[in-house]
Symmetry: C2
Subunit: 363 residues, 2 copies
C-alpha cells in the first residue's frame, strides 16, 4: 500500500493506494473517528460490481449504511441528481457527524462531494474513485460541483474529503474508453509537472489499454499522478495561483464538452484535444519547442485519444464559450501553456486570432 498525504492547513488527508483496498474501506474509515452513519452514493453499474463488497466492509466496521444510486453520465451531473442525495440524507437522518462516501467516477465524486459540502453546511466525505480519471484527478483536491445547463462545473464548492481510497484492481472492470480518458489527465501531469513520468510513458509501447501496460508503469502512473496533484493542491488549495496549472488543456476542453452537450467526447478526450490546442498555441507564441509539442501529441495518440476537434463544432462558438469559463478574469481568458516538458506558465495574453488559427488546423 502506498500512502500519499495531501497537506492542508485545516485538515490533511490520506490518499491510500491499495490493491484490494475496497475490502478495507470500513477499517480505514474507523481510524478517522467518524459518526456511525454512512450514505453511500454510486451508480447502478458501479454498484453492481463493487457495492456489496463496500457495504460488507463498512458494516463489518460497525457503520450503518444507506445507499443512493444516481443515473450515470456527465449529463446527469445536475442539481436534480444532488437533490436525490439530499432526499436520501433526509429520509435517513444523515447528521453532521455522518459521512457521505462516493463510489464511482468523477461525476459521482463531484456530486457526492457537493452534497456533502452543502448538507447541514458540510459533513464528512470519503472518495472511493473507480475510474482512472477520478483516481488521479477528480477525487483529490476538494473541487466539487455540478454543471449548469450552459456550463460545466459552474455550481460548486471546495470541500476536501477525509480519505481517498484507490484500489487499482478496480481498473480491470473499467471500459477501455474510460481508461483512455484517465490517461489524458496522466499525460497532463507529465507535461505540467513531472518530466520523469512523461519519459516513462514514452518508453511504453502502448498506453491505450490497461492489459498492455506493465504493472510497474501503472503503479508509477497512479503514484506519481496522485503525488503531483497532492503537491499542487497542498501548495494552493483554493486556486489562488499555482493550482490553475492543473487546468492545462481544460479551457478549450470545457468549451468542446459543453458545445457538444457532453454526449460526443468524454472529459478526458476533451482534455486531450485541449492539450493539443494549448500546445499549438504555445508553439505559435514562440513559448514552446515544436518538437516537444509533437512528443506530447505522440503520447496522446499512443493512448488512442483524439487530437482533432469533433465534427461539426463551430470554432466561433468555442471562442465565445471561453468567455464563460470560470477562469475568465475581467473578460480575459486564462491559458496554461507549456514552456518545456514538466513546466507550464499561466497567461491571459493569447490573441483570439491565434486560438482561431490553431482550432482551424484541428478541424
Amino acid at each position: 500500500m502506498t500512502s500519499i498525504i495531501v497537506n492542508l492547513p485545516e485538515q490533511s488527508y490520506e490518499i491510500a493506494i491499495a490493491p484490494g483496498g475496497i475490502d478495507q474501506l470500513g477499517e480505514m474509515m474507523s481510524n478517522l473517528k467518524l459518526g456511525k452513519k454512512v450514505l453511500l452514493v454510486s451508480n447502478p453499474t458501479i454498484f453492481k460490481h463493487y457495492g456489496q463488497r463496500v457495504l460488507a466492509s463498512l458494516e463489518a466496521a460497525g457503520f450503518e449504511v444507506v445507499s443512493c444510486n444516481l443515473s450515470p453520465g456527465e449529463r446527469y451531473k445536475t442539481l436534480s441528481s444532488v437533490q436525490k442525495i439530499y432526499d436520501t440524507a433526509l429520509e435517513n437522518r444523515i447528521e453532521r457527524s455522518s459521512t457521505m462516501v462516493a463510489l464511482g467516477g468523477g461525476v459521482i465524486g463531484d456530486m457526492t462531494g457537493f452534497a456533502a459540502a452543502t448538507w447541514l453546511r458540510g459533513i464528512n466525505f470519503v472518495q472511493v474513485p473507480t475510474s482512472l480519471l477520478a483516481m488521479v484527478d477528480a477525487a483529490i483536491g476538494g473541487k466539487t460541483g455540478v454543471n449548469h445547463p450552459q456550463g460545466k462545473n459552474l455550481i460548486g464548492a471546495f470541500h476536501q474529503p477525509r480519505l481517498v481510497l484507490i484500489d487499482p484492481e478496480v481498473l480491470k472492470s473499467l471500459p477501455v474508453r474510460e481508461f483512455r480518458a484517465g490517461m489524458a489527465e496522466v499525460i497532463k501531469y507529465g507535461v505540467i509537472w513531472d518530466a520523469e513520468l512523461f519519459a516513462q510513458m514514452e518508453e511504453s509501447k502502448r498506453l491505450d489499454q490497461l492489459r498492455y501496460i506493465k504493472a510497474e508503469l501503472i503503479e508509477a502512473i497512479l503514484n506519481r499522478s496522485c503525488q503531483a496533484k497532492a503537491d499542487v493542491v497542498g501548495k494552493d488549495e483554493k486556486e489562488a495561483g499555482l493550482r490553475a496549472i492543473l487546468n492545462y488543456g481544460h479551457t478549450i476542453a470545457h468549451a468542446v464538452e459543453s458545445l457538444t452537450g457532453y454526449r460526443v467526447v468524454n472529459h478526458g478526450e476533451a482534455v486531450a484535444i485541449g492539450m493539443v490546442a494549448a500546445g499549438q498555441i504555445a508553439v505559435k507564441l514562440g513559448m514552446w519547442k515544436k518538437e516537444e509539442a509533437e512528443r506530447q501529441d505522440a503520447l496522446i495518440q499512443k493512448a488512442s485519444l483524439p487530437t482533432k476537434l469533433p465534427d461539426g463544432v463551430d470554432i466561433e462558438a468555442i471562442i465565445e464559450s471561453l468567455q464563460l469559463d470560470k477562469k475568465v478574469k475581467a473578460g480575459k481568458v486564462r491559458f496554461i501553456l507549456p514552456t518545456q516538458i514538466g513546466v507550464v506558465t499561466i497567461t491571459d495574453e493569447v490573441p483570439s486570432d491565434t486560438i482561431r488559427e490553431v482550432l482551424q488546423a484541428m478541424q
Copy 2:
C-alpha cells in the same frame, strides 16, 4: 457611523452601522478591491423601496450592476430560487472576482450567500440587510442556505460576506410584524450574552414598534446585538462549540416553523416560542430561576411576540421533528438552556418527557 469587526482567521470583515448608509454602499465596496461586476439580489417589495438608491450608489462608484428579484417569503427559500440567481449570473457573465449583493431580509441574504458560496465555487458577497432580524443576526456570520421541503436550512454552506452594511433608517419601512420578529433575536442576545442589553430593554416601556422606542435604545439594540454576534462568530466560526449558543430557542422554533409550513409564524415568532419553551425546560431541570424565566417572557410579551404554540400543532410531531435538526448528534437533541440572564449552557440531556410537559403547558 459605528464599525464592528468580525475577526476571522481567513478574512475579517466590517459590520458598518450607518444611518443613510445605503447611499454609500458603492463607495464602501470600492475600498474592498472587488471586481467591476455586481449581481444585486432582492425582492420586488424591497427593490421598489431601495433598489434605485443602491443601484445609483454602486454605479456612481463604477460598478456594472445587474439585478435579480426573487419571490418574497420563507417558502421561496428553495434551490429553485437559487437557480434563478445562477441563471442571472450565467447570462451576465458573473466572474470569480464579481460580487453578489443581498438587499433584503434573512431569506434574500441566506439565498444570495448560498449562491455566492457555490457560484464558481465561491465569489464575493456583501450583505445589505433591510429587516431587523437580518441586521442583528442573519446577515452576520456566514451561514447561508435554503430549506429542504422537510426541514429548514438543511442545505447550505459557510460563506462569509466581505461587508455587512446596516442602514438603520431602512427600519422605518419595515412592517411591524417583521420588526417584532427581529426583536426576538435581540432578546435572545440579552438572554445568552448581554445582561446589560437585557436590562436596557426592561427599562423601555414598549418594544413592539420602532416609533415607540427611544433612538438611544435602537442604537444600543443594533450595536450590542451585532457586537454579540461578531464576538461569538469570531470565537467559533464553524460552530464547533460556542457558536451553538446562538441557536438558543431555535431547536423548537425550527420544528414549529417546519410543521406549520412556514406560513403561520415567522422565524422570529417561532424563536420567541422556542425561547419560552427552552426557558421552561431550564426551570424544570432546576438550571434556571423561575423569576428570570418570567423576566424573559415579559420582554417577549412586551415585544408583542407569542409565548404559546400556534393552534393545531401536534406536540408529538414537534418531538419527532427535533430529531431532524442539524444539531442532532447520535440521535440526541441538543438544547441551549439559560442558567442566568446573559449566560447559557449546552446540553443534550433533556428527557423527551420534559419537552412534552413544557409544550403541553404552552398549548
